[in-house]
Amino acid sequence: MRDCPDGEMRDLLPGYVHRTLSEEERAVVQEHLEACEDCAEETNVIRAAIRAYPDVKLNVARIVKALPAARHVARGGIFAGNQWRLAAGLGFVLLGGLTVATIGGVFSKRPDATPVAIAPSATPAPGASNPATVAANPASPVAARGTGAISSAPLIASTPVAVRGRKSISFGGGLGDLSDDQLATLLGELDSLQALPSAEPESHLNTVIPPDTGGHNAR
């Protein structure tokens, strides 16, 4: 027996025997087989090899019986199989919320504390701002900057609103503690605040009020 030089045709022979070729391919192979004795013999070898490994007697019912039952997998989208993560996340959020509420409760116990924007600061750190100041005045440019404005000392120092607020913080107590002059100053500050553009160039502000000296500007 010899090998047909057409390797691609020989590669089609198993598919021809198994009847898995397309109609076109099958017709091409059929035509080739009529002319090529080597491929015809090779096809006979393939058929003989198939007969050499006949079907084995199998107890299919027993195999099926041994299979595990289908598990109904809960397909809950992104939450599928992540219940513990979800519970842990909720717990974390609750814990954080309780912590914030506790801290907020401690500060709000001052008898004269008011929810007004210019509440006295409980944090004496020079570069820090009072979150209550920002939160209580959502319309201000600082509040619009979000949490980044609160946590970033240099940014706050370069922001006129925060600096001006810090000046007012040194009055101490709530609005009730302010004298008429101080209230007038405060109102003046607020008026000038409204007159300011919502976004001033940072570089200009930095030259006027350096971030690291913000604490010394308080009255």
């Binding site: 070898v45 090899a49 050499a52 490994y53 007697k57 299979l67 289908a70």
Partner: protein, 185 residues
């Protein structure tokens, strides 16, 4: 080539898997019906003459136990054959260890082989089978999967952990060896 039909087969298998996952146990029976015989033939061609039933059953049990992790990177058929192949290899290793402990009863082995061959009525088929038995293990695997199951080279390569090109070379070398054996006989 022969890929169109195989693709359909693959899609049908995937549909059956989804049905089984949804709780339809009849889909599992259909999957077994579709692949059990091919697996049994492959087991027989790998030299397993006894307990082929159990080998095939173990293959399906293992496959269904981890069907959730089946990612369809290959076809279900290739995956099943891969599981069976590992089981056969494990069993052969185990038998080899036993053989080291207990002296092999050669007469019994030959008798079992002849008894199986007696079932093969076709003279040519028997001679082809003898020729296949003389191939190297890898050549034999590639040849049997290609010839008896009609697998594509790519599918065989995935199964035996080789390349498509290497499998093609193995197949043609195996075919040449079988032809030479038949010519000499």
């Amino acid at each position: 080539m022969d890929s169109a039909g195989r693709l359909d087969d693959g899609a049908l298998d995937l549909a059956l898997i989804e049905r089984w996952k949804a709780g339809d146990q009849r889909a599992a029976a259909e999957i077994v019906q579709r692949h059990a015989q091919a697996l049994a033939r492959f087991a027989a061609s790998s030299g397993e003459h006894e307990e082929i039933d159990e080998l095939v059953q173990d293959t399906f049990v293992r496959a269904f136990n981890s069907l959730d992790s089946f990612r369809a990177d290959s076809t279900l058929r290739t995956w099943l054959f891969t599981i069976l192949r590992r089981l056969v290899l494990d069993r052969k290793r185990s038998e080899k260890r036993k053989r080291n402990q207990v002296e092999l009863d050669e007469g019994h082995a030959v008798q079992a082989y002849n008894a199986l061959d007696a079932l093969v009525a076709d003279e040519t088929a028997m001679r082809v089978k003898q020729a296949i038995e003389k191939l190297s293990p890898l050549q034999k695997e590639v040849f049997v999967l290609r010839v008896t199951e009609g697998m594509a080279y790519g599918e065989i390569a995935t199964l035996v952990g080789s390349t498509e090109g290497a499998c093609r070379v193995h197949y043609h070398n195996a075919m040449r060896s079988v032809k030479e054996y038949l010519s000499d006989a």
